[in-house]
Amino acid sequence: METKKTSLYQLHQDCNAKFVEFAGYQMPIQYSEGIVEEHKFTRNHSGIFDVSHMGQLFIYGGDELIKDLEKIFPLDLKNLKLNHSKYSFLMDKDAGIQDDLIITKIDEGFLIILNAACKDNDFKILKELLKEKYKMVLDENRSLIAIQGPKSSQILNEVVDGVKDLNFMSGNWFLFDNQKVYITRSGYTGEDGFEISILNNYADKLTRELINKGSKLVGLGARDTLRLEAGLCLYGHDLDKDKTPVEANLKWAISKERISKGDFIGSDIIIKQLNDGVTKIRVGIKPEGRIIAREKTKIFNQSDVHIGEITSGTFGPSVNGPVAMGYVENKFSKKNTKVFLEVRGKKYAANICSLPFYKKSYVKGVN
């Protein structure tokens, strides 16, 4: 299969991107300044991320769609206000996570942002679950551009007037070059920021204007270090079909109202796990010293018993040290529990810690 290119491909080339294949797309892993500089620039200033490979699924419908989607997602969708967003997951009947996603209520229905590697499968699953009752569009004509970091609000507002008044996890339609763009105040870096859904033909122009106002392109490499410092999960690594939202320590994203009634896919398992507890759970892990423990690194307790595995690990440029997360047996998940990580045959001390590694600076409300 031929790899796809996003509408910013030319711009990435102009900015000396190094490319990698990711989920069937040619994506920039970094630009000339490198991952550490790009990471720090996002934390201190403003970074632009091409996330056009992600799925933008529009589902059109009214009250019946809301009812049907509540059978799928553990969310209180009937009380989700227009233009408000929620983080959620698509689960199988055993509550295994098939994808994690952001769902936003829009005028005509819902917009769901899906992971690139999962989007085609998600579309198939949802189409079947909704019995083809609703018009569903996995929109390939729109790009998705994220702008993240403390200066992003000011920079984006110079290009798209009014965005600075958006609240965190809400969105609206705005105008750019007389084209309707849908912008939400959200992101995946632990910083204040926005995601912009824009027609492909206008994505390049918008991004170049943001660069002219002082923002910089940032690659997938820094996106990974930023999200890991922020304690956020990456699907296919920290989340997969063998893990439930309760095990992934994401129960905050499950509506309490919905748990009391059940009746969504995977609800039996979720309710059971919430009542009885889980055997493994996702935790933050901070190695002592500088050793980097990457995905699949084995975790041992103080008696040298294998108790879990790292699912993401790297060097955190803002933390200025190694950071990791993984799953351990529940009884070893308490903060400050000492564990050992096996790296290249040797065991290194680490501590279970709370997430995030880097404190968020989301804007809650500006009104």
Binding site: Q30, G34, V36, G221, T225, I292, R294, F315, P317
Partner: protein, 126 residues
């Protein structure tokens, strides 16, 4: 009189008497990106030609560092362990990795000179 030679694994080696100083090339650091971790062989240990003698890690991945010649480790550069970003800043000079008392000078013969290495690096730009 000392000559710097280069290996296909992107190490440089500078021989003075029977002590060789070894590090990784600028080209290697450019391919790796920001180096955030370095591990060196233990002082007093012996290393064999083309065997692993250390590790460098970028934010993305870990890579082995090989030794282009055999010998006994007589010194290591703790500065690059404490601040691995020095490797990106000055890879072919102050950010050397380790020094070896070498056993067999003829092991140097198969290594490349600067011109050959530059050509090799250009052709193997991955």
């Amino acid at each position: 009189m000392s000559e710097v030679k280069y290996s296909k694994e992107h190490e440089w080696i500078k021989l003075e008497g029977d002590v060789a100083t070894i590090g990784i090339t600028k080209h290697a650091t450019e391919m790796l990106g920001d180096i955030v971790f370095a591990e060196l062989p233990e002082k007093g240990s012996s290393v064999e030609k083309d065997g692993t003698a250390g590790v460098v890690e970028s934010t993305k991945a870990a890579s082995d560092v090989y030794t282009p010649v055999s010998g006994e480790v007589v010194d290591t550069n703790q500065e690059i362990v404490d601040d691995p970003s020095k490797i990106n800043q000055d890879p072919e000079n102050s950010a050397w990795f380790f020094k070896l008392k070498i056993k067999d000078k003829s092991e140097m013969d198969s290594l490349m000179n600067k011109d050959d290495y530059d050509k090799f690096a250009k052709e193997n730009n991955t």
